[in-house]
């Protein structure tokens, strides 16, 4: 990532120094020590005062843990359920059943790939209408059988293609929103990476929203916003700040309930630690929600949505 470049330079220097046999050049030991301290300080500086745009970049880091990684790390007895029963199985959307520390849940999640092949099959995590219709099917299944829903957000957005439009991208998202608002089971949403607009929202609201420290969630991508406002996508840094799209912004706006801290430098620097934190957050949240009666749950979810918005006049 761009803002990490000074750090990378120091790290490369350190690496080259370490290749030298220190027993032959003892004066290097001190230099190495100094360099390590400097790297530590820079690390701290860089990652404790991240700008919104830097966080967006971290959220998109290719090595950042993805929905698949969370599913593998957090759950047991995973059964993937495929298809919308209408047109196609969309690999950009995960839907399935899984168990978290003995709790049986339904899992949804945008699915980016780990490599180019996988990304092509998964359309880089941007679902078509059939992906949302699969998700909607799982929502109804979870509702029917009393399974809480855990949903992982990580998409640049719903795919803006000709076929996606022709097959009713808008309608598919709208149906998800309606379904999600009415399911009589707890819905826990976890923002793990990108939260791109309607494509994220389709599986992205519920009874609780947990955001990873460097995940974002936005009405529009910062680049698109910059293109519209300034005809210049490179002003995304500016629009990132204006859009108030970081986990911290969402917490302040009352839209997120919890921000899960990431290891210094981002989740990809220590996935195991990240998984442990997320597992704890989801478990605690499910624990809080599970005693609530279905009617009360749906009512509270509606009230929660109902309260969102800022306006003057009655």
């Amino acid at each position: 990532m761009e803002f990490e470049r000074p750090l990378e330079e120091l790290e490369q220097k350190l690496a080259s120094l370490k290749r030298v046999d220190v027993s032959e050049q003892p004066e290097l030991a001190a230099e190495i020590g100094e360099l390590e301290a400097e790297i530590g300080r820079l690390h701290q500086t860089l990652y404790t005062a991240l700008t919104p745009w830097e966080r967006v970049q971290i959220s998109r880091h290719p090595e950042r843990p993805k929905t698949d990684d969370y599913i593998e790390a957090l759950f047991t007895d995973v059964i993937e359920l495929h298809g919308d029963r209408l047109f196609r199985d969309d690999e950009a959307m995960f839907a399935g059943l899984a168990t978290l520390d003995g709790r049986r849940v339904a899992v949804l999640g945008h699915r980016k790939g780990k490599n180019t092949n996988e990304n092509i099959r998964r359309n880089f995590g941007s679902p078509h209408p059939e992906g949302f219709r699969k998700a909607e099917r799982l929502m109804h299944l979870a509702d029917r059988f009393g399974l809480p829903i855990v949903s992982f957000l990580d998409t640049a957005g719903a795919y803006p293609g000709i076929e996606a439009e022709d097959r009713g991208q808008a309608l598919a998202i709208a149906e998800c929103l309606a379904a999600l608002s009415q399911v009589r089971v707890p819905v826990v949403v976890v923002g793990i990476g990108e939260g791109g607009s309607g494509g994220a929202l389709a599986i992205g609201f519920g009874d609780r929203l947990i955001m990873l420290e460097n995940a974002y969630y936005s009405v529009i991508s910062p680049e698109m916003c910059a293109t519209i406002l300034h005809k210049d996508a490179r002003r995304a840094s500016e629009t990132s700040a204006c859009l108030q799209l970081t986990a911290q912004d969402l917490l302040r706006l009352g839209l997120a309930d919890e921000v899960v801290c990431e290891p210094l430098g981002g989740a990809h620097r220590d996935p195991a630690a990240t998984f442990a934190s997320v597992r704890g957050a989801i478990g605690r949240t499910l624990g809080e929600l599970s005693p609530i009666a279905p009617d009360a749950l749906v009512e509270a979810r509606y009230s929660r949505l109902r309260a969102i918005g800022a306006y003057a006049g009655e």
Binding site: G168, Q169, A174, L177, L201, G309, E314
Partner: protein, 289 residues
């Protein structure tokens, strides 16, 4: 607002095709040029045919007040939530400051926001009704539009009276960030409650209805009507074109394409809209009689 001012205001639009401009050789606002057939029309004729070109059938965009006047039984409209106005919750200053945009839109349209709603009657049937006004920052859905739409759903539910909404919008209002995006969920949740209660909801999609509006309450209706030629979709055509790097097929995202793709129930000429909606209300309201 005089209709001539409205033509000026059209320049603010993001998604619409231009329709009519005053010609050079006649008094401003009296003669206009139809963007469908390029003919010069007498404004009075155009207005009498509800801004549909008598020659080629082109449906020119209209304002929310004009829409309500055309659709509703005369004198039946009682506005609700009229006083609600947008604030600037994010202090959004990239580009033109949001507060200034709101002020300019208010000034230009004489409206408080991009959605007007209330109670009324159509063909003698009591309705809760609302119409979006694209002139007001593209009738994009921020907190106020979302709240007013949600209240319209709740009012229809409380009164057990059919809801008729006329949409025209660029989508969610980016200047209110995530507060705007969440209006999609909020309005959809309200729509789901109305559907659960089996109160009829008819949506009329007009040019253009895009993004977060199409992808939420607008398409959750029992019957989906569109006006001829209206652009309706999720992603804007320019975004799609840039994504796929191909020219879009003719008629892409048009009302007629959506009809063929099975997405809407019918395409109805504006001049028959009130009659069609009245007829539909007779069918859908019969269960409650």
């Amino acid at each position: 607002m005089p209709i001539s001012d409205w033509f000026k205001a059209r320049e603010q639009r993001r998604y619409t095709t231009p329709t009519a401009v005053p010609t050079a050789d006649v008094p401003d606002g009296v003669w206009v040029r139809c963007e469908g057939c390029k003919r010069t029309l007498y404004m009075g004729d155009l207005e009498r045919s509800e801004m549909v070109c008598p020659s080629c059938g082109k449906h020119h965009d209209i304002t929310a007040p004009e829409r309500l006047a055309m659709l509703l039984d005369e004198g039946s409209f009682v506005e609700a939530d009229a006083g609600m106005r947008s604030t600037d919750p994010l202090d959004f200053t990239s580009g033109k400051a949001y507060v200034d945009q709101i002020a300019a839109a208010e000034e230009r349209t004489g409206l408080n926001e991009g959605f007007i709603s209330g109670t009324a009657a159509i063909g003698g049937h009591a309705v809760v009704v609302g119409a979006m006004d694209f002139r007001f920052i593209g009738a994009s859905m921020g907190s106020v539009v979302g709240e007013k739409i949600t209240r319209a759903f709740e009012r229809a539910l409380q009164l057990r009276t059919p809801l008729v909404l006329v949409t025209a919008s660029g989508g969610a209002r980016m200047q209110e960030g995530m507060l705007s995006l969440m209006q999609m969920a909020k309005t959809s949740a309200a729509a789901a409650r109305l559907a659960e209660a089996r109160v009829p909801y008819i949506a009329i999609l007009t040019n253009p209805t895009m993004g977060g509006v199409t992808a939420s309450f607008a398409t959750l209706a029992d019957v989906l009507i569109a006006e001829p030629g209206a652009l309706i979709g999720f992603a804007g055509p320019r975004v799609v074109e840039q994504t796929i790097r191909k020219t879009l097929p003719k008629g892409f995202q048009s009302a007629e394409a959506l009809l063929a793709n099975g997405m809407i129930d019918m395409v109805v000429d504006r001049r028959e809209l009130a009659a069609t909606v009245g007829s539909l209300l007779a069918y859908l309201g019969s269960g409650d009689e």
